[in-house]
């Protein structure tokens, strides 16, 4: 049955007008025993919704889209890639921050699933938080390559050894979904001045990039009680990251560098 399903899908995909056939087949394949019976409580929507339907994609995002399509058209949430790479659908599901498109619906139909927006953020509507502060903090760490000598810019590649490139693994993959920052109690209480794990991980990513020349200036920018040092190694960030990255470790490495770097005044141009 499964093989027939796959081949049918392949041929059916070629015929885009047979959308219903393709869709039902995909659902059959994806939801063999997954019933989609779940009660979804969405706090800021203030509506308790229950729905029972045998055909639904396996992820929480599929359920949200289904609710929006069939039950409540005003339900508002961010979404884009539906494959865990854009970071739009970050929200608090069952108490933990994840991407809705990567979070499988629990097949235990007696359990209630609770969906909230990202914690302690200003809510624009339903599950949509105001992310402007988060993005402004990201811009403030200057997340781009800075060279002391700009004369060679554009002429050829800035070469980097394999070892130096490996240092960036686990850092560059960050989606800036804000799951980690909004899971951090320090960021809850000091969100205005503490940068948060996501932004600090990116600051570290640029510090240890061998092609970047401004490591000392980047470190000195964090030299105040709040930007970096509100981190108390609570480790909610690493626990909740939907991409499996380790912001806690990155922040610890920044703290180590902060202890040993010598403050050098950047030479005036």
């Amino acid at each position: 049955k499964m093989f027939a399903c796959i081949s049918f899908t392949r041929s059916a995909v070629a015929f885009r007008n047979c959308r219903t056939l393709v869709v039902s087949c995909v659902y059959e394949f994806a939801s063999v025993s997954i019933l989609c019976v779940c009660k979804v409580i969405i706090k800021y929507h203030k509506i308790l919704m229950t729905f029972s339907h045998p055909r639904c994609g396996p992820m929480v995002l599929d359920a949200l889209i289904k609710i929006k399509n069939e039950m409540d058209l005003t339900l508002t949430f961010r979404r884009s890639c539906r494959e865990g790479i854009c970071g739009s659908c970050a929200m608090n599901i069952n108490g933990g921050n994840t991407l809705a498109c990567l979070n499988k619906i629990d097949t235990n139909t007696s359990k209630v699933m609770k969906i909230y927006p990202l914690p302690r953020m200003y809510v624009v509507k339903d599950l949509v938080p105001d992310m402007s502060n988060f993005f402004a903090q990201y811009k403030s760490i200057e997340p781009y390559l800075k060279k002391k000598d700009e004369s060679k810019q554009g002429k050829e590649q800035y070469l980097q050894s394999i070892e130096d490139r490996q240092k960036l693994d686990g850092l560059y993959e960050c989606l800036l979904c804000a799951c980690c920052s909004t899971s951090c109690p320090s960021y809850w209480w000091n969100g205005d001045k503490y940068l948060g794990p996501a932004v600090l991980t990116q600051a570290y990513r640029w510090m240890i990039d061998s092609r970047d020349d401004f490591i000392e200036e980047r470190l000195s920018k964090l030299q105040d009680p709040f930007s970096l040092y509100r981190c108390h190694t609570i480790m909610n960030c690493t626990k909740t990251c939907p991409k499996g990255l380790n912001p806690g470790k990155a922040i610890a490495e920044i703290k180590k560098m902060m202890a040993t770097y010598k403050e050098k005044r950047s030479s005036a141009i």
Binding site: Y116, R120, K239
Partner: protein, 148 residues
Amino acid sequence: MCQFYTCLKNMWFLCEMSKFWAKNTRLNRPVSPHISIYKWSIPMMMSISHRGTGVALSSGISAFALAALVLPESYPYYLDLIHSMTFGPQFLAFSKFALAFPVAYHTFNGIRHLAWDLGKGFKIPEVYRSGYIVVALTVLTSIGLATM
């Protein structure tokens, strides 16, 4: 010149951020729930317990120092007073355990924090493992100290 440019950039970020706060307070937007809905985990509970025991221990010592300053009699007098009181053995054991527990917990978790400061033990399984070891050591040490 470079410092002037940096100063301008910092002012821009501050401006952006203050616009964010002004806009959200003006629109009276609600704030999404945090403590009430976020799922508690062992590392989270251990972290707040570290802070709690730290506050309790330092305020205890400060209270002791303040009492030494304020109370009329001297320390030997109060020591004899406590010795003269009769307490049940269970009460004594329990109170010794209750005193030893925060000290032991804060000490062992403190060592865990020092390991983190060296950059060690940041993978999530390692965080849980070190956490369980700290709790086990704390209970054993507290019982050991209470029965001494």
